[in-house]
């Protein structure tokens, strides 16, 4: 850590120093954007994977459980750095926005132009509302505990309703082959994926059988609990990676 500067002697940068500091801001911002586009997108693709790739994987049980749980990781870690060292409450929004940029680039170029899938079959989900809540809650409370419990929970609970306006319409029923499918299921049947047999989809597998047909709220609350635990874990990972030892020498 650098030496504490007494308030009475603190002098803000002016002139050339201020200009250089601002140039440094932009440099870091651009680098951070590309870093998070690449790293968070890769992390997300390897962990959430098919749940986010395909419209016929976005089920009511596992999708709202898995996606926020993985989605909260980078935002927590980056918040730990940006809030703790700079009091910048934008870590979560920055990460999720970077993820979406990377995801859209992939969906358009890799899935549509390269592999011919219609883009509506591979629309990504969004977590921006949850990220905004995480950032504002951290800023207003300046508390890891409160942000973990309430911010983590909100991040998970907001996920499914945030995305229902995008994906709800794909759940309209269609009669195909003497059975009912959703439009999303029909995408999976019609648009051939050689490496994606139907049985690989993890749809309604598990033991949520004794609560009627309310799988989504149960999954969302389960995800909320897990996100509340995942958030501080990744916050500490972020802090562990954050290193400002060279800053004092600038």
């Amino acid at each position: 850590m650098s030496a504490q500067i007494p308030i009475s002697t603190f002098k803000p940068y002016r002139g050339e120093k201020a200009r250089l500091a601002r140039a440094y801001d932009y440099l870091i911002l651009v680098l951070a954007l590309f870093l998070f586009i690449g790293s968070f997108h890769l992390h997300f693709a390897l962990t959430v994977g098919d749940w986010d790739f395909w419209v016929d994987w976005k089920d009511r049980q596992w999708w709202p459980l898995v996606t926020p749980l993985i989605g909260i990781t980078f935002p927590a870690a980056v918040q730990a750095v940006l809030w703790d060292k700079f009091r910048l409450p934008l870590g979560a929004t920055l990460c999720v926005a970077a993820l979406l940029i990377g995801t859209w680039v992939t969906r358009v170029f890799a899935y549509h132009y390269w592999n011919y899938f219609p883009i509506n079959m591979v629309l990504p989900a969004t977590m921006i509302p949850g990220a905004l809540v995480l950032d504002t809650l951290l800023m207003l409370t300046n508390s890891l505990t409160i942000t973990s419990i309430f911010g983590g929970a909100a991040f998970a609970l907001l996920f499914y309703p945030t995305n229902w306006p995008i994906f709800g319409m794909f759940h309209q029923p269609v009669e195909v082959a003497n059975s009912q499918l959703t439009i999303a299921d029909l995408f999976g049947f019609q648009y051939i994926r050689t490496g994606m047999p139907e049985y690989l989809r993890i749809i309604e597998r598990g033991t949520l059988r004794t609560y009627g047909q309310y799988a989504t709220p149960l999954s969302a609350f389960c995800s909320a609990l897990l996100c509340s635990l995942m958030y501080p874990l990744w916050w500490h990972i972020g802090k562990w990676f954050a290193d400002t030892r060279y800053l004092s020498k600038i």
């Binding site: 803000p12 999720v96 207003l140 309703p161 306006p165 759940h171 029923p173 269609v174 999303a184 299921d185």
Partner: protein, 408 residues
Amino acid sequence: MKTHLLALIALTVLSGLPLSSAQAHGEKALEPFIRMRTIQWYDVQWSTQTFKVNDEVSVSGKFHVAEDWPISVPKPEASFLNISTPGPVLIRTERYLNGKPWTNSVALQPGGDYDFKVVMKGRLPGRYHIHPFFNLKDAGQVMGPGVWLEIGGNPSDFSNTIKTINGEMIDMESFGFANGVFWHLFWGALAAAWLLWWVRRPLFISRYRMLDAGLEDELITPQDKWIAKVVLVSVPVLVLVLNTVTANRYPDVIPLQAGLDQILPLPAQVNAGTVNVDTLKAEYNIAQRAMVLQVKVDNRSQGAVRIGEFASSNVHFLNADVADAGYNPGKDDVSNNGLSLDNASPIEPGEQRTVTIEVRDAAWESERLDGLIRDADSRLGGLLFLYDDVLGKRYISSISAAVIPKFI
């Protein structure tokens, strides 16, 4: 400079080399004992191999699920009849198993016989190598015979309109796309506004110094806090309102569907009991690339039969002496006249005969079936076709036996 020059020369040389498109889907990569003793395809035919965008094409055929299913391969309790394509250049519109339409995965029964049909529609023009194949859960992909399909026409002509249960006609190519983009832009604009609110002011070094100096309160202004409070309250409220509006707009939605179809096998087509074949011994001569099978044939049919073909893993070894022997070739199926018998005379009705069949061809090696002898489960499997020339009948036996290699 020298390195750059070398790189340029290398690039020029490489660019001059002829490039050919991939012509296979790794169908030879799967271990031979799995290819030979799981899904045994036969009579696979394509309705056409040249068609246009929007035209239908179908592949139909039969398969036998081997009785001698390898112990190391999970039983086919979840299997999916798929089509190997380089992306959705075709769409699958209908699929039938034993005449029944089906969309999900299916549980197959070892020893069972099935016929299938998959109807597709051309989507993107081009020349593609296509196979029907089975995804077997936890086992891999067992390929059926492949063909080259030539799709002509204009990709922009493709249409795929379906009708929902509520009677709405929708275009699958564009359905929900504009709506999805709108919501991503909507939330993206809010995120951008929040980010710009902060990055418009000095960031890292300045804020770090101020925080270090204890000027934390100056970094977050009352206006920042007011905006944050508005965001914290309004965003969740907006999410819930939009969710409710959508739920009211689409009241008749259902969850994603998932299930396993149960379709019973056909009455026995293979090993039907009329002509029984029992494999006594199998030896593979590596140098001659010849499999020598000793089988005991029990002809309980009304007519004399002759062994005309041994087929395994889409390779057809034919007996040139039997006129009826043959198949409807997929264009890159492998066939040859490599099958010969020690006694070519027909096996009469009621006769039991031990026959030595030599199946000799380079296809054992080129199709990587000879790798069997290096498998942990080195058992051979395949379909033996016997023909009654007089009555015009065909009898099929699924045979299997441990293979003894002959190295010299």
